[in-house]
């Protein structure tokens, strides 16, 4: 399922690279922005895909966990003067704990109740989290400003911001880490097995409930990691993470369920598409159409091709 890059994927990578080169010559900024934003989308989508693939839960509260991470980073910064970069470890751990707690309190009890109950419970959770944040911090945005997050360099006459390349770095690191974990560790292999057949997994000696707990905790921790690196670049408000739920869902579907590598590719591809449209004067208003248009196109072509086979 969570397969290594297939032949088709290499073809896609090649196409992406060619497109990237062409765009790079025509509008280098679009390429840069696209890669940066696309990577961010991918980091956030990866854990959603993981939870969807293994637990079968479409987590509607995904973006709210991202928001929680942002506020945690913000609090560390504003109360204790901790630079966001230094918050990486505590916030990631905190979110892991939050994930585990939410799992134990809620998700765990509805795993057998079917995916619709899970959908609803995550919707309820998202409501509770965002309203709770609202009542504590109001809707007024907060921010953590650091100079390094807006530094830029000029290369071959092109000036661009450097910080967001971190997103690419993190995306690759998270992806590689996840793949190594899934392929090379016994727990990772167990994760695959549980995703496909929990009962079969328990029969061969896998502790299924631990795998679920671990996957959920790990995923939310990754969300926390992403949130830390976003904080210096974004406004923090109760709805800050919300739009990423659907974006992540979109990337997961575009990559195809279980295809983690595809998520990074899809993220970057969509990021570049978006950036190109934005670069065209008057284009920005259409960028969502392009984002979702490409998504629909990819899903449809795949469905049609598979239907014929």
């Amino acid at each position: 399922m969570l397969a290594a890059a297939s032949k088709k994927q290499y073809l896609f990578i090649a196409l992406l690279v060619i497109a990237a080169i062409v765009i790079g010559f025509w509008e280098p900024h679009a390429l840069i922005y696209g890669i940066q934003r696309g990577s961010l989308y991918a980091v956030i989508a990866l854990p959603l895909a993981l939870i969807l693939g293994i637990l079968g839960v479409l987590n509607l509260a995904h973006g709210e966990f991202l928001t929680v991470g942002m506020y945690a980073t913000f609090v560390l910064f504003s109360r204790f003067g901790v630079d966001p970069m230094l918050s990486t470890v505590p916030v990631t751990l905190l979110l892991a704990v939050v994930g585990v707690a939410v799992y134990l309190l809620t998700i765990k009890h509805v795993l057998k109740a079917g995916h619709l109950s899970q959908l609803l419970i995550t919707f309820g959770i998202s409501l509770v989290i965002s309203e709770l944040i609202k009542s504590i911090y109001t809707t007024q945005p907060r921010g953590v400003f650091t100079t390094y997050s807006y530094s830029s360099t000029t290369l071959a006459g092109i000036r661009f911001g450097t910080y967001e390349f971190l997103y690419l770095l993190i995306a690759v690191a998270v992806l590689v880490g996840l793949q190594l974990f899934l392929k090379k560790t016994r727990l990772g292999q167990a994760t695959f097995a549980v995703g496909q057949n929990p009962r079969g997994a328990s029969i061969v000696g896998i502790n299924v409930s631990f795998v679920y707990l671990f996957v959920f905790g790990l995923s939310i921790a990754i969300v926390g990691l992403a949130s830390v690196f976003m904080v210096p670049r974004v406004s923090i408000f109760p709805g800050a993470g919300t739009p990423y739920t659907m974006k992540s869902f979109a990337l997961t579907a575009m990559a195809g369920l279980g295809n983690l590598n595809g998520i990074l590719l899809a993220g970057i591809a969509l990021g570049i598409f978006e950036a190109v449209v934005n670069a065209i004067p008057g284009g920005s208003g259409w960028s969502d159409v392009v984002f979702f248009g490409v998504l629909i196109l990819v899903i449809m072509t795949r469905a049609i091709r598979e239907g014929r086979r």
């Binding site: 679009a30 922005y33 007024q140 945005p141 400003f145 997050s149 670049r233 408000f237 934005n278």
Partner: protein, 387 residues
Amino acid sequence: AEPIKFGAVNPLGDITGFQTTRAMELAVKEINEAGGLLGRPVELIVVDDEMRPEIGAAAIDRLATVDNVDFFVGGMGSGVHLAQVPALKKYEKITVWMGAASHQVEIAMGPDADWYFHLHPWDYQQGASYGQGWTDIANAHPEIGASRIFLAYEEGAFGTDSYLAYLDLYEAAKDGEGPYGQILNDFAGASFTSALLGGGDYRAMLRQAMDFDPDLFIWAGYDADAVPMVAQAMELGFEPPLFVGAPPGWPANFGDNPLSDGVILYGMWAPALKEVSEISNHFWNEYIKMHGHEPATYFAPLGYTNIMFLAEAIKAAGTLEKDAVIEALRTIEYESPIGAVLKIEPSNIISNQGFTSQKILQYIDGEQHVIWPFEYATSEIKYPFGR
């Protein structure tokens, strides 16, 4: 005695609606402590609209029929308010509405609703008032020009309406007419997706602005866009001489951000007004005393104004009789903590419009200062923006 009931519909989950409500509570408290109106206490009944149109409309029905309020006050978003228009028309109670800037509301309300009073400047009025402001500033400071304006606008109703208004103003300015007639030579705009709606990457748009090389760069978005917008401009090296933001509210502690220095903003009010206005000072102190936090947006003093203005009119009318109160609302003048005298005049369609202009403010050394209108100015303009 039987209280006089004011029914308010505000989005309580949002900072604007939340603080508006708090400010209204302050006003009601002050009125009652001063003996109420016509010898009767005032009661404020607030219903949350959850920023959902149908909920906002139902709230009107509830206030009118269950709570039997005498007046309607409050209100923020145009989307919610549009849905309330049919209900308001049904009851034709005196309504003093403080928010909802979209001219669509005015169209929906139509010219005949003499019981409807609208306090916030309409979108087109705001555009016009800025033109006036920049003309004044350019006249006062020969080195400052605003002949090339670039407008960045968020893709929703708020931003788009601003853009359309600017296009009209620009058309007029080409013939030397209108508020921008004397200053504007060239105008361009580009849209962006607000961070509030999942955007937040302005760089493509900012690069278009940079290519245009404006004297005045202005963005119409939301508070969530403020910091990333300035910061991304810095990343790109984009430093227009005038960097203006026009969101309805600003992030908490924006002034503490080093990038804020010199950023110009449009708004109806700034905390610094307490230095020049008695009533502003009063409002500021009392609000903090009562609620323990500072008013963050101009909606707080506007909410206070909303109640006080209506109360003054009732006092002036000396009765709750509808025609008399309408007459009073039309004639009285109210010195508002917003930093302006509130006086009703007709706007394009409706006959009872309150404020018609915004102010030009600027972050200087972490504080919001008024730089125009000059009579309320708390500081000289800092020019040019940037280092």
